[in-house]
């Protein structure tokens, strides 16, 4: 039986990208500033991760203006929500496996 970690998606599994998908799973949409402040990242770092997610079709980026100020809104796609659900499920499997091993007194991991 393969270890569930094999099912982890490298695009989604990265910590900041996973957190972006987690925010967007709860929100209809979020703007760049909210994401940056919530996740505690820098502008450049967040931009790079958003681009990776957008290239994978997991988020949609809408750039526009409010008055004269540019504003970027981000929303999750259906694929993004499925990818997050799958990632969370895999992580739970890994944790569940650890607990099962502990229960039977076997060495972990």
């Amino acid at each position: 039986v393969s270890h569930p970690a094999i099912d982890l998606d490298d695009v989604v599994h990265q910590r900041v990208r996973l957190a972006i998908l987690a925010v967007l799973a709860e929100a209809r949409r979020a703007d760049f500033t909210f994401l940056r402040d919530t996740l505690g990242t820098t502008d450049g770092n967040l931009s790079r991760h958003l681009q990776v997610l957008a290239d994978a079709g997991l988020v949609e980026i809408h750039k526009g203006f409010e008055g004269k100020r540019p504003r970027t809104w981000v929303s999750s796609t259906g694929r993004g929500r499925k990818a997050l659900a799958s990632e969370v499920s895999t992580l739970k499997d890994i944790v569940g496996r650890l607990e099962a091993q502990r229960g039977s007194g076997t060495a972990t991991d």
Binding site: V23, A27, A30, F34, E66, V95, D109
Partner: protein, 238 residues
């Protein structure tokens, strides 16, 4: 991957989701607004027939729902994050239905007539006669259903508990007040001075007052709920 690392990632993901939900939630507006609209509708007490009340709610109800929708859209723009507005609009619609049932069709404006269809022995809210029981029973049910749907959509067990508590509280207040009113009015019919005609006239006013009391209690309960939501940090109470 280490299991400890997986658990840590799960916990931090869950934390981010909870924080986002808290940033989105602000449920104070629907109960506060509709509580105020209900209190305002009491100014129509004494007007003849249900026409003014019906017109009032036909205008105030949809406008209230629209105001709720626009507020949450504007809030999303201001805060940079927003959720689906549908749950809040569902609650606003439920409160509208409850308000219309309580103060509109079959509500206190019918009081002097419908009072005779109540009986303190049977008790308030029992199905004595269809429409009579819809206002007092329907309003708590509409409020409870609205908040229960919101709890389901927002996955908030605490909100579900609040929904049930609010429904029971509104029903209980109405039950107590109307039972006392019926009992007092019946006693005055039997023992009151001035004959049947005078007696009936004297407790028409009493009956209207007692019919207004649960409506006021209902409106104030909603407004207090709204203030509690507002005071809880970022609406994170529920």
């Amino acid at each position: 991957m280490q299991a400890g690392e997986a658990l840590d990632t799960l916990l931090s993901t869950d934390y981010v989701r909870r924080r986002t939900r808290q940033a989105i939630r602000a449920m104070w507006l629907p109960p506060t607004l509709f509580g105020a609209l209900i209190l305002l509708s009491l100014s129509l007490v004494g007007t003849r027939g249900v026409g003014p009340t019906t017109i009032y709610w036909l205008i105030a109800g949809p406008l209230g729902c629209l105001a709720v929708y626009l507020y949450y859209r504007e809030r999303e723009r201001r805060r940079g994050v927003g959720g689906d507005v549908l749950p809040e609009v569902v609650v606003a619609a439920a409160l509208f239905v409850a308000a219309a049932l309580l103060t509109g069709a079959g509500g206190f404006l019918h009081g002097p007539f419908l009072w005779w269809l109540y009986s303190p022995q049977v008790g308030w809210g029992l199905p004595v006669l269809g429409i009579v029981t819809i206002p007092p029973v329907g309003a708590p049910i509409a409020v409870t259903l609205g908040y229960a749907i919101l709890a389901l959509l927002k996955r908030s067990p605490r909100l579900l508990i609040l929904a049930i508590t609010l429904g029971v509280a509104i029903f209980a207040v109405g039950f107590v007040v109307l039972t006392i009113a019926n009992k007092a009015a019946l006693e005055s019919v039997v023992t009151g001075p001035g004959g049947a005609g005078m007696s009936t006239l004297s407790h028409l006013g009493t009956t209207v007052a007692f019919r207004v009391a649960p409506t006021v209690a209902y409106a104030l309960t909603l407004m207090v709920t709204g203030v509690l939501f507002r005071r809880s940090a970022a609406g994170g109470l529920v």
